[in-house]
Symmetry: C2
Subunit: 192 residues, 2 copies
Amino acid sequence: MVGVRQFDEQEVIALALNVFWRKGLGEATMQDLAEATGVQRGSLYNAYGDKEAIFLRAFDRYAADFLASVENLLANGDVATRLRNFLDSAIVNMTGGSPPRGCLTTRTALNAGIASEAVRGRVQHLLGELERAVGKAINAAPDGPALPEANRLARVVVTFTRGLAVMERAGYSRKQLKESAATFVDALIGGA
Amino acid sequence: MVGVRQFDEQEVIALALNVFWRKGLGEATMQDLAEATGVQRGSLYNAYGDKEAIFLRAFDRYAADFLASVENLLANGDVATRLRNFLDSAIVNMTGGSPPRGCLTTRTALNAGIASEAVRGRVQHLLGELERAVGKAINAAPDGPALPEANRLARVVVTFTRGLAVMERAGYSRKQLKESAATFVDALIGGA
DNA sequence: GTCATTATTGACGATAATGTCAAACTTGAC
DNA sequence: GTCAAGTTTGACATTATCGTCAATAATGAC
């Protein structure tokens, strides 16, 4: 390797992820990324091609981390406990930062009409993986339902988390979201 | 009145609503609005001031119409029937058009971080009104729960509809959304 | 019919973002 | 040390959007 890259790729992608998380794919500019990473625009174009390529790398990292964390939280307890842990984690994820960053997946999905096929594919894939993980987890719980029903419920749960992400953007507080999530689980599982 | 407006305000706002619905407040340009309405950019600036003012008028119309329609659908039947009607209406609303337009409220909420205080306020107000209408309706149903619980459930239901809107943008079909909604109501009410 | 008032029009300058490129620079390989 | 390969840099042309404005046109009031 001769002409060697002057910046740490991992770090640049992490910093870029933060920009996309706060502004969204459409609103973030190459200038934003250059400022946040300390790498000039020209270098970013040379290294990655365009903004979307950077976004895809950042999103892939985000998706892998989030999914791994979720699988871990879904591993133990009865159905209600697993769902509570999953929903809490999603709420913490979207209300983190100051000001809160919201949910990257949801923001990206909302621009799916504008974004490219590749971006749409990543969102769909992550949502599918979440459904799969939740379905598997509630099916495997000691009091879990049988498989086709578990998968239907998983989709409802994932859909509900997307709703929480929208409500967060609309101004609902972490506390309000947690209360809604608790009501949801109680009503869904019949624990109330 | 001396120099009189050359265009029909109602029609222009309706055409503008369609543009915002398809593109979102941030992505729609004054040029888009000018082309869709047949009114030149300069005239739009003269008549309304800026893009956001046009958006607020369009959104207010949309919100009033949607809310009126929803209140109507929530007026009869047991809790499950009322919720099914409400969810179906939301799904039809967001999957209408070709290609589907999605949900204007949800798209707008996702840009709330960027948008102005006035825009955020409209979104919050509409969501609040929806919660109020749903809470009142399920409380008033023959088999409806008492009030504090009805309101908590209403928030869960409204949150779920926001989730449906996100899933629609992610590529889920009307049929898939309806199936999810049915599972949701069955599980929530215990009708399954 | 005249006029005052308002709307319309098209052009203008400003700003911001994109993508590209040649020149300069850096560095590992030999 | 020299060199070739790849990176960095700053500048450039292009495109898009915004908001404004002076000139022109239209019309209700009298």
